[in-house]
Symmetry: C2
Subunit: 398 residues, 2 copies
């Protein structure tokens, strides 16, 4: 999909591009949308029946797809057979490196989670080499347990990433600068590795499998220790973004580790949530979430508790909405745990104060449904991207 | 060009896509990069010589290209003939609607400006219907004078635009809300009309023909009455952006017409420049530019005069750079007229204060070379986009 106006010379195309394009479209439809009949493929992809037949037969022959009776019957008469992506045709490794936790999963084609593992990162234990070793060890153990081999990996990190080679230019909360995470993991895992920021992958996950499905212009904002943001523009995830958490919203505010004062992240993060709830600074995330989920016996009191937090969240969102004009804002991770009246109050403030929200017909502000899983889902999708392209060029499954 | 990670199903492709793609690549190369030999086309576009021959011969036959001896000789021996886009093969109408001025130009293929016109918009005279009538009248007069007919139009407006139909959702400084500018102009001009914001088209112009050529990630920031911004991400202009000028940088600052306080636009605009220079509020733009261009007899005094303006410009840029991680920031229109020591001081502040600038190897901050012409250049490029695509599908010139 083209985003925006192309302003540079396009490279030349070869005649077999069309075949590859069609194979990729079919695979992607089944991977993202799940099983469907050939008739549905024909209608949704705007290709004729004979093309769909050729593409499906070819992909089935190479082991990427199979056909079967549908899992759910509908209507009367003999049910049409459905085409389905074979999970075992391609397994990817999804890795989510957080400030205090690493998670990984093996995921089969069609988003079939086959197994997962996670471990805490103690303060100071987040040295890149150690993280790489732990990820590789855990991935190999999981592969052996499940009897599968991943063909590619996708990795989420809380920082600024160079797309070309997965160099983590800056992960401030991990204190990483210019860490060649992509290359180190690629060498150790011996498979293609793609790295992106937690915000980018949150946005990708919500757009592919979450509350932002089918939307063209979306901003994803999440917080735990820090803030992660991602943007869908014209239906595609923007890569190579910076750190929305270091937008200054309060020039006379708290000092931030980045050297500025009053960054969004200093006013809208896990620590600020603990302050709002009057919890000690060493309260764990689990306990914090329990507190956040407690039904508010007294909604006005809940609103009062979160008034300052909500106000800085809203000010930052007004800025982001005014700048990027999304139709939808998805609040992820801990923000998705905010009590409903607080979320509603934030959405109302954005609607009232953002001129651009009013201009685009009121930007909706909703909580993520994927929650803390979003980065892992997004990392799997990141890894599947080139795998589907390879499949489309004609490779058979292993 | 693909931007980011595709996360939706692609539509099917047809086999003649490759031919169209190659024709478009050749046309675009000549339109943007100027005349060159077949050998250069072969090398730059990564196509073989016979494909280039077929494409060039086909486009020449349809009247889009011609071949001739180069305008400049280089080396010894018989010079190779060069391929050149024929300006008369396609002429577009470029329109730049500003808060106080409308400009238009007729531009031939290869960015050959054939003629132009402009007139002031007096306060209150900016009613959309009146602007449409004036544009249509002026365009027809210019076409008759020059003996050409435009085949498409591109329009710049200072506001938020819906890409699909050129609906101006909000142009705050013109006091336009939901103005069907695209449709009205299309009906009156009887040609395809594309509308985009001044910031988007400034970015497109700088990326195609200005200081941002060849860059992948760029932010364009300009001011006159208001602020206009555009973004190049992964080599393409983002469409459908909002209003960066309504990012709140100073929560206790001046009241903005949008209802917030301390928007970037209230601290960084033409009025703020007049305040910095101690000029009366009714000083015209011409006089303001004369004052800005006066060589500073005393650079420290110049810096002191602009200290507050430069500081708010820098704070906003720090936010934008932290969020979008561009390698390059282009300052356009009146910002490009700031005295050199002031520009240098702003660039230094961004470098010192933006964590993400440091992370990506220091974002450069430079002045536009296209200046106030950027929007007109961008509007022409916007119009040429579909024209080149049509040409690529095989239409002959009129």
């Amino acid at each position: 999909m083209l985003v925006g106006v192309r302003s540079t010379a396009a490279e030349g195309a070869r005649p077999d591009d069309a075949r590859r394009h069609n194979r990729e479209a079919v695979l992607r439809r089944l991977h993202v949308g799940g099983e469907c009949t050939r008739a549905v493929l024909t209608a949704e992809l705007g290709l004729n029946r004979s093309t769909i037949k050729a593409v499906v037969d070819g992909l089935a022959e190479s082991g990427w797809l199979s056909e079967r009776l549908p899992s759910r019957r509908s209507g009367v008469g003999r049910p049409s057979r459905v085409v389905v992506a074979r999970p075992e045709a391609a397994v990817v490794l999804a890795v989510d490196v957080r400030v205090d936790l690493v998670s990984l999963a093996l995921v089969g084609l069609g988003d079939k989670k086959l197994g997962q593992d996670s471990w805490p990162l103690r303060a100071g234990a987040g040295a890149p080499g150690e993280v790489v070793t732990q990820v590789v060890d855990s991935a190999r153990v999981l592969e052996n347990e499940l009897g599968v081999r991943a063909v590619a990996a996708g990795v989420s990190v809380p920082g600024v990433v160079r797309q070309a080679d997965g160099l983590v230019r800056k992960a401030p909360q991990l204190d990483w600068t210019d860490v060649a995470l992509g290359k180190q993991l690629k060498d150790a895992l011996r498979m293609p590795v793609a790295v992106a920021s937690d915000g980018e992958l949150g946005a990708l996950a919500e757009h592919t499998r979450g509350v932002a499905r089918g939307e063209s212009n979306v901003v994803f904002v999440a917080c735990d220790v820090g803030v992660g943001c991602g943007v869908i523009s014209g239906g595609a995830v923007l890569r190579g973004l910076g750190e929305f958490g270091h937008m200054v919203v309060r020039p006379d505010g708290r000092e931030c580790h980045c050297g500025c004062r009053g960054c969004w992240e200093t006013e809208m993060c896990e620590a600020a949530l603990r302050r709002a709830l009057g919890l000690p600074a060493d309260t764990g995330r689990g306990e914090l979430i329990v507190e956040l989920r407690k039904p508010a016996a007294d909604p006005p009191a809940a609103l009062a508790r979160f008034e300052e937090f909500a106000s800085w969240l809203a000010i930052g969102l007004v800025n982001v909405v005014n700048m990027l004009a999304p139709e939808l804002v998805v609040l992820g991770n801990l923000l998705a745990e905010l009590p409903r009246p607080v979320l509603d109050a934030v959405a109302a403030q954005v609607g009232e104060r953002s001129m651009v929200s009013r201009a685009v017909g009121h930007t909706r502000v909703v909580a993520s449904e994927l929650g803390a899983e979003a980065q892992l889902v997004g990392a799997a999708e990141l890894a599947f991207g080139p795998v589907l392209l390879d499949a489309a060029t004609g490779a058979a499954t292993t």
